[in-house]
Structure formats: C-alpha cells, structure tokens
Amino acid sequence: MSVHKHENCNGCEGLCCLELQNVGVSVGDAELLHDVGFHLHCGEIAALIGPNGAGKSSLFKAILGQLPHSGSIRFQRSDGKKSRPVIGYVPQSPAFDRSDPVSVLDLFIAAAQDWPVFLPIPQKLRDRAVECLARTHAEGLLDKRLGALSGGELQRVLMALALEPLPHILILDEPLSGVDVEGERQLLDMLDELRDKYDLSILLSTHDFATLESFADKVILLRSTVLAVGTPTEVLSSPAFRETFHLRLGKGAV
C-alpha cells in the first residue's frame, strides 16, 4: 500500500526524491515490515515515529542496503534519472570506551579516507577533515579523543562524518535521545541549515512528539507498515496515532 494522502506524497513528479513502494522486510519467519511506501523529497525533513519494535531500524537498514527487502526503494535525481543514492547514516550515539586512543581525526580518516590511520597523516587530509567537521561546527574537536566528547559533540562529529561524501539522503537513528534541551535545539537548527544548504532529504526516527511540529515537514507513523503520513498536525491528530499510542495518552507524552 502506497500512502498518498498528502499533497507532498503524490509521487516524485519529476522532482528529486526517494521513493519506497511495497517495501517488506522479513528475517527468518518473522515479517518485520510489509507494504511500506512513502516519498521523501529533497530538502524535506521527515520524522519516522512508532512504538519500539515498530520496524524503524529495520526500515533504515533496508534503505541502507544492509537488510534484504521486497518491493522497491528508488532514488530519482532532479533531472528525472534514477540512480543509487548516496546515503549518510548517523547511528544512535554509541558510548565509546573512554580509554579508546582514537581521536576525531582518526575516526574521519578510518571511515572516509584510504590513508592508513596508523601512519602520519598528511596535512591535506587533515585540512579535509577540518572542512567536513566545519559543516556541523565541530572543527574544534579534531584532536579530541572520542571518549572525551560529550553526547552533543559526538553527535556533531558523527553527523559531519555522515556528510562525507555529501549524501542525497541523511538518515539519523534517534538523534534526539540522550541530548538535553539546548543540544536538541542546536541539532534541529543544524538539520535545518544542512537541508537548506545542500538540498538534502533528511529522515530521522524519534520518540519526541512535542518538537515534531517545530522541524518536521512530514511525519511517518510506522508500525510494521505505514499507518499514517502527512504534516505533523495531521498525523498527531489522526485516529491511527491515537490508537497506536493510546496507552500513553493522558500521560503527557504528546
């Protein structure tokens, strides 16, 4: 089932966009996702919501090509040509071992360059890493160890890494969990800035419904399949949303 409720969702219409049709994911006998369909245009920020176990991470893995899926996941460029998109992925902030002798620069070189990280790093690659980090205002962290970064700092570093090479689609796995109010504001402002600057599609999963209206152009409610899709107001007031989260209503979750 492809959901075409909102005017944004009427196919790609020749615009640059990510298109999912009838996507299903099964692991062994368990069907994790079925008939998932939606469109995500360039420059659009979409929030993926749903209860734990709804299949949000599986959907990300399917889009990233790490899980086999049925149906189609296609990317269309603004010139109408279809191609494999470059996807930047920001994993849930991991807790790095405080004793890890790995600096932010090391992470950059290891993930985004061919230069062996244990040899002295040429100035050119160092400059490149600074440029990339500057995209998320994290250039000052270059020589800090990963274990010494705060949650917000680590997220900026991981985001800068996801932007190298510059992707068509940026996927963030629960970027708002474990970040304080100030950090959340900074992060959302940065996403807004990135989307404007690079015309990225941004897809993020979140449990924080209160801020949805302030940043999301589109909200996708997922539980095995897409239950509702539309603007934050539309989805938050939909019967499907009430039904999915009925236990939490009245507890201030919304």
């Binding site: 990233l64 002798p101 600096s103 992470l107 290891a110 062996p116």
Partner: protein
C-alpha cells in the same frame, strides 16, 4: 645473516664478538622481528576486545601441534597452523551467529581445544613431557630460516595493516557505522583472527604458550594509557614491545631465566609505569 653477524659485532657485548655465540645473535634478530609483529597485532587485539580470544588461539595452536605429531605430518607446525586457522574461522562465525556472550563462546572453544590437545598428546599412554618445551618456549633455539619466515610474516602483516587498518578500526569501534559505510565487518574479523592465529602458532615454539598472550595484550594495554590518537597508540605499542623484548632477552642471557617470561615481566613493568603516567 653474515651482514647481521658483522653488524652485531660492533656491539660492546662479550657474546657479540665475531665467530661464536651464533644462537644469541639469531635470538636477538628474531626478537627484533617478533616484537614489532606482536606490538602491531596487539593494538587491534585490545581495540577489538579480543585479549581472551588470543589466549584461546594459543591453546588451539597447541592442540594443532598435538594433532600434527599424532598424524606424523610433514611437520607438526603445518598441522598446527591449519588447525588454528580453522579454529579462528569457526570461532568468528559462531561468535557472530550465536546469541551467547562472546566470552562464553571463547570459554567453550578454549577449554574444548585444550582438552582435545591433551587427549591426543597422551593417547596410548604417551608422555606429555615432550610438549613441555612448547609451554615455556626457547628463543635461543631459533634458526635463521625460521627468522626469515617470521620476517616474511611481519611483511605480510604490515601490508595487511596498510590495506585494512582503517576498516579494522572502524569495525571494532562501531560495527553499525562500519556496516553503513560498506565495510564487511565479519570479513574484517575473520582476517584479523586468522592473522593472529598464524602468528601465535608460529611464534609459540620460541616465546612459550603460557606467556605468548601477554605479548598480544600488554604492549597495547600500556600504550592505551598514554596515547591520544592512533599514531601514538601504534608507536608506543611497537616501541614498548621492542624495548621490553630486548631487555628481556638480555636479562635472560645474563641471569639464565626464560626469555619469554623475562620479556613479559618487562612488559608488565611498562604497563605499571604507564598506569602511573596515565594521561589525565
């Protein structure tokens, strides 16, 4: 070797004089090859939290040698390497596919391997004592051809490091991130485990099964206390291993204790020192 012997005669030691004590000169060269090898591997063993696994590999290598001498293969060493490789691959796969905690899987493998080794070694009332030399190791028995083999392995590991150290690091740091950037994490683990298996098995005769794991853990463990980035980590680990190995060999020569044990004690000392000097 002639070049090495003449080079070494420049040293102001009594055993370094030309024309005699070749075993000591060989041992010195062997140590200079083995120490950087272990210093290098050590960085990734500790980074990937495989200290216990490398210990299990040592045990499996012993089993391999026991199997080799039972079958009367061309050389027990060949059988040991094959067995250790099989063990490493099987282990990598099971650790990934099994829901059990990694230390449990290692425990199961390690004890089974040792049991099998002892069983085979003592089959038909065989005496275990012929394996004693493996437990303690004897660096002074190393032959020039064996040093050449070790040097070749060092070269291979260096090439591996240049090609794969980035992906190995990323896999160890954050498997999901590595996955999303197209790194095949399982493959990385398999390659690292196999190289450790080969190195441990081949060096066991000279270092000794009981202390070989210390060479895979202590250099990097000490380096971690001081290093701020990967360059320093590798430098400290390799340098620490070389210095301690040289000191250990000298000590063992002059007071007549096992070289493997002496090297380990120096490494333990270096680790203690690094704890005290630890970066704040």
């Amino acid at each position: 070797m002639e070049l090495w012997y003449s080079l070494i005669s420049l040293l102001p030691f009594e055993w370094a004089q030309p024309g005699h004590m070749f075993f000591m000169k060989n041992a010195l060269l062997a140590v200079l090859v083995i120490a950087p090898l272990f210093g290098l591997l050590s960085t990734m063993v500790v980074q990937s939290r495989m200290s216990f696994f490398s210990d299990a590999l040592g045990h499996s290598a012993f089993t391999g040698i026991a199997i080799g001498s039972l079958c009367g293969l061309w050389a027990p060493m060949g059988a040991a390497v094959i067995f250790a490789l099989a063990f490493a691959l099987l282990f990598t796969l099971i650790r990934r596919k099994s829901a059990l905690a990694s230390d449990t899987v290692i425990g199961v493998f390690s004890s089974s391997a040792v049991a099998l080794g002892i069983f085979i070694a003592t089959l038909n009332g065989g005496s275990f004592t012929r394996f004693n030399s493996l437990l303690v190791g004897d660096i002074l028995s190393v032959k020039p051809s064996e040093i050449a083999l070790l040097a070749a392995i060092l070269a291979v590991v260096l090439i591996l490091w240049i090609c794969a150290c980035n992906t190995l690091l990323l896999s160890a740091l954050h498997p999901a991130l590595a996955d999303s950037r197209g790194v095949r994490v399982l493959w990385q683990e398999a390659v690292l485990n196999c190289s450790i298996a080969v190195v441990v098995t081949l060096s066991m005769t000279w270092i000794g099964l009981l202390v070989i794991n210390s060479l895979l853990v202590l250099p990097a463990a000490a380096a971690r206390n001081l290093a701020r980035n990967m360059r320093q980590y590798h430098l400290f680990s390799v340098l620490g291993a070389v210095v301690c190995a040289l000191a250990g060999l000298m000590t063992s020569y002059y007071i007549g204790a096992s070289a493997g044990a002496a090297i380990t004690l120096y490494l333990a000392g270096a680790f203690t020192l690094s704890m005290i000097l630890r970066r704040k």
